[in-house]
Point group: C2
Chain length 376, copies 2
């Protein structure tokens, strides 16, 4: 039996209810509206998959859990705030269009886990591992690992297609949907270009802070914050040009700060909070600004220790601690924290001049804090 995905949060049926929620619950109200919208879209699509064949029921289950059980909804939230800030209205239709970004992100995460060979995601097995398990449980023929990978590639594709479908079927006026498509497309091209820059950077084993910052700009600055804000603005009746530039001035530095925080968490994060093993990024050998900044200042003995442990799949907790110490001792952690602070400050400053509706401005200030002060 499929779990009941309608159990989530509240269901709003009128514009008045939506507005009430957003005005009184702010960001949490928006997040509930997004969750709710994703749940009803998913419900329709999983019914469709079930009709194609019972073989697709496990697909619908897995995607339902992945989409609905967790997720910070960061990109739809930025899109929704971007929409409000540009004078757009919060309605069930606009929330559906804006929530589509979460499905783009589901595609990115599912494919990312295949690309990284990650076993877990949010404390549960990654999708390719889940279907590797299904292959084993059902004693199917051929390679279980390959079946898991093939499934995850297809489901990531499906999530990307669902995203577009959710936007197209949102019920927003066609005029606004068409207005938003160029930003939507550009965001997705940038995402894939950024992802390739990232894997290339890892393989190139670059020690350049500048190159790592460029990856952070594409992967986070643009994809996670600036473009969602622009997308939200493009879905509003007539956003002023200055709104777009304010969003860029806020989104790009904040996105980099967000990515830098991610990098710090990947090295120093608490497994109980992150759902990932301690020092996971160190084990994976992830080339980040934090690592580049460390390597710029290591002594020769530190470099030796670094090369002994960094990127080793069997890195134990003692090795993790050694690497953490080097990162602290070289001042890299402090430099990255200072960079996060500076970029977050710049993001807040960008809102002052802005041309953004006051409620959205307040929410963007809150989001900047949430994105950079978090521990998971």
């Amino acid at each position: 039996m499929r779990p009941n995905f309608r159990r989530l949060g509240w269901a709003a049926h009128s514009e008045a209810e939506y507005l009430y929620r957003v005005e009184f619950d702010g960001i949490n109200g928006l997040r509930s509206a997004i969750d709710n919208s994703l749940a009803s879209f998913f419900d329709r699509e999983s019914t469709y998959l079930g009709r194609v064949g019972s073989e697709l029921e496990p697909v619908a289950d897995a995607l339902g859990h992945f989409l609905l059980d967790s997720g910070k909804r960061l990109r739809p939230l930025f899109a929704a705030i971007g929409h409000i800030g540009a004078g757009g209205e919060v309605t069930p239709e606009s929330i559906a269009a804006l929530s589509a970004l979460e499905l783009v992100h589901v595609c990115a995460l599912i494919h990312d886990d295949v690309m990284d060979c990650s076993d877990t995601r949010r404390g549960a097995p990654s999708i390719h591992r889940q279907f590797e398990n299904l292959h084993q449980e059902q004693s199917l023929h051929g390679s279980a690992e390959q079946f898991g990978i093939a499934s995850a590639i297809l489901f990531g594709d499906l999530a990307l297609i669902w995203a577009a479908k959710m936007l197209h079927e949102s019920g927003m006026s066609p005029k606004y949907i068409l207005q938003a498509l160029p930003v939507y497309d550009e965001m997705r091209v940038e995402l894939m270009a950024g992802q390739y820059l990232d894997i290339y950077e890892q393989a190139f084993a670059s020690e350049s802070v500048e190159r790592s910052l460029k990856v952070a700009r594409y992967k986070s600055g643009k994809y996670s914050i600036e473009r969602p804000l622009h997308f939200g603005a493009a879905l509003a009746p007539a956003a002023m040009p200055e709104v777009y530039s304010t969003y860029s001035n806020y989104g790009l530095p904040l996105g980099e700060a967000f990515q830098l925080r991610d990098d710090v968490i990947g090295v120093f994060g608490d497994p109980a909070q992150t759902g990932k093993p301690a020092g996971d990024d160190l084990r994976e050998g992830k080339r980040t600004v934090l690592i580049a900044s460390t390597l710029n200042k290591v002594s020769s003995s530190q470099r030796e220790a670094f090369e002994k442990y960094f990127g080793k799949a069997d890195l134990d907790i003692a090795g993790v601690h050694t690497l953490q110490e080097i990162i602290v001792e070289t001042g890299a952690l402090a430099r990255v924290e200072a960079l996060i602070e500076e970029m977050t400050f710049n993001a807040h400053q960008a809102l002052i001049s802005g041309g953004i509706a006051p409620m959205a401005k307040q929410m963007l200030d809150q989001m900047a804090i949430a994105a950079t002060k978090r521990t998971a």
Copy 2:
């Protein structure tokens, strides 16, 4: 240096020229127009990638060769004929919108090769192998194989995104684009659902002709023929409902016949024509209608021989011949050929009642022959 992708075919600059080409060159004229449209879209996008960073130049090169060096353009052709048959005009704008389907197919092929671990595609190394090679040539860090897979996943995603971008930016009236989006989305969901049914069917090692036919219906009937025709019709000002049903009555049987022909070629095809090793589908252990139909009629000694050779990665040419003989002796090849003939006949018949513009009807008859009489 990037090759000059503008070298392809003719460039038409006016509607009159387009119409002239299509009226006098028929399907070949349409194919040239599609090639030309893909080349100019690609040109813009590869310039964009180059601006993001020089790391992306090999990406643009690889995708350019993959997209432009070969390909039968089957889906854009059906879409174009579907458009003409529903009263749509052949213009540079409509050709751009219709050609988007080729990029959807590029996504499917690139991802398919990763899913199947295929080394070659159209006689050249598959994309994931190309980037595995790049990793080795540049002596990059980490697993070359994993880098190849990760790259191919991202480039398949990018092709899917480019497809949507090409449609959105085609310059067709927004009204017609919006009209076509539901068919476009449904086609893509069906594609992914069909692909999963296919890999599940392979792993399930089904011997059911009925189940194999269902996979053929989703993978080819709907995705390759029926939906492209509907997509073309939806891009026309006002297609009559009977046009859609004629396209289904033509497309579904023809699509199955097309897939059955593919299956026959996968077993009996000439490597010089297919660009793949002889008996490749046998080595891969591909569960097709042809195989299910064989297994329904094998003697116990034939089954023994079959199980010894089928799906073995090291299958040699003698083993291929043994399997081919069994497939012929059980009458499976003859039954599948009869099925192809029957379904192709049904497809031709569907056009008689039709409601389809005469030029399109004639082209669809030609396409039915091309799709089912081919040898590669």
